[in-house]
Amino acid sequence: MLITLKLYASLADYLPPGSSNNRAEVAVGEDDSVADILEQFRLPEKWVKLVLINGVYLDPAERQTRRFVAGDHLAIWPPIAGG
């Protein structure tokens, strides 16, 4: 199935070549967890701070178990803040 992977700020460097607008359509398997995708794209664990699926926060403890449905938007940021 296809999901949309969105990587922001310094994590944008980990998107597949040719990606634009901080996003890429990527194929994932039915058994793939969020943690599997983080590993597949070699995202350094230290810099994966904020993970949202369809805009909803995913607790770090759920990264190993959370699976996808087609069309999901997986968005990830390093430690950031503002105001």
């Binding site: 310094s10 607008n21 810099w47 701070k49 904020l50 909803v56 950031i80 803040a81 503002g82 105001g83």
Partner: protein
Amino acid sequence: MSWNKKVLRVNLTAGTCTPEPLNMEWAMDYLGSRGLGTKYLSEEIDPKVDALSPENKLIMATGPLTGTMASTGGRYTVVTKGPLTGAIACSNSGGFFGAELKFAGWDMIIFEGKSPKPVYLYLENEKAELLDAGHLWGKSTWHTEEAIKAGHQDPQIRVSSIGQAGENAVLYAGVVNDLHRAAGRSGVGAVMGSKNLKAVAVRGTRGVANVRDMTEFLKVTAEKKKVLADNGVTGQGLPKYGTQVLMNVINESGALPTRNSRDVQFEGAGKISAEAMHEKRPTDGKPHLLTNAACFGCTIACGRISQMDQTHFSVVNKPEYWGASGGLEYEAAWSLGAANGVNDLEVLQYANILCNEYGMDPISFGATVGAVMELYEMGVLTKEQIGIEAPFGSAQALAGLVEMTAKSEGFGKEIGQGSKRLCEKFGHPELSMTVKGQEYPAYDPRGIQGMGLTYATSNRGACHVRSYTVASEILGIPIKTDPLVTDGKPGLVMAFQDATGVFDSAGICLFTSFAWGLADIQPQIAAACEGDWSMEKLNLVGERVWNIEKQFNLAAGFTKADDTLPPRLLKEAAKTGPAKGLVNGLDKMLPEYYQIRGWDTEGVPKAETLARLGL
């Protein structure tokens, strides 16, 4: 230098400058800056005075850590009664002016009365004099700073001034220092203009003194700077991407107020984000962002310095705007962009530049334009009335309206009154996205529930930096809470409000709070300041600051009915995103908030609460 223990009282009516000792008894209860300035104002004016009358006073106050080696210790606060809201107004700014004021030997300046003609205050250490500003009146903040430095032949003078917006009583005019930093909110610049006070220029050479235990202070400030450097947010995220990195996060979370809050997500968010500021433009091959910048003593350096595309329609014939300039920061990018449906990064920076140059708050300006655009699309306002076609998304309209408002020309005079007065005048008060008359910033309370309570209870009108629960609800700092529920939010809001009162009153930047807690600033204050500065004492200071502000507002005539939100946020559910179907649950949070504050059901502090706080 801890406290200088010296206040300058400037009577603009009489033209006198009189030094007096700082009330150290009050300093022990209110610390400095926001808290101590509010104590002085509360003691000296009737909260019911007309904000733009000579009876109002305006205070510029530093904190005990302003000008010291503490990271970000460069801040000062402008405290007055606000003309936009009629409530307490205290607006905080960084840059270098606050530290210079401290170096000149002063903690605070109190302006009272009204000068018969335009003047500026010139301080050179203990020398204080009011000088004629006839040649500066009508000039922008930038030209004012340039002219003062040239006139005194001293490029190291620091200047805080108003632009034409403050002179013309734009009700959200700010006070701008060091070109790009501002005490921006609540119309403190309009108060300055009403007093015929154009600027304050300071040259201080006293350096740092009066730190209680210098050895301990240097040791602890160095330790705490390392905490900031080692933190992913303050050490890396903010310096590289600035506050603008929030644009995509808040949009993805479904909490980006869009098109006057008709929507909670903006399809153009990516084009006006921090990431977009790093991308090379197709027109000239250069990125919008040039570099980052820091205020005095800051080891974070979140500021943005950008350069516009010279071929953009807004500046193609205006080479004065082709150089490097401050911005964009997140709040301005939102208010000028998403709030109006405008996705043109260049025109947002143009509008932002004019806000800095003419001295007005981009949050209130941009949000008011959002209301104008909605009224235009409804047919309530026409092209003939506005002077320009003004649909949502129009970059041309934004550029035109910022020029009109900055110069108080045509329909710009209406926009300069803020969205509350404008929407009331044109028969649709429900379309004003304000609390207590002040426009709310870049977080939709349907998608971040705690921010609804934050806005509703903010003493200076809707504001994010009085209780930035976004840190917890979205970013997980210091702990993650669910943005879509109301449970636990009253306690969260109160904790943020009280802690923020301490950060603001100390003279340091609130952004340190992404890495520091009160336990990190307590030893810095204790090493710098005489007296007892335990954690318990600091917690009381924060609560006391919040309550004295509340007392001021109650005396000014505010009631429980003012602790509310625009009806759109309470009745119209979010259409998309995680908050789809939700309104803000203020009614579930407000009673508990009053209760844990020690206030009665009408939002009035109980006698025992006031007694406990010494109020």
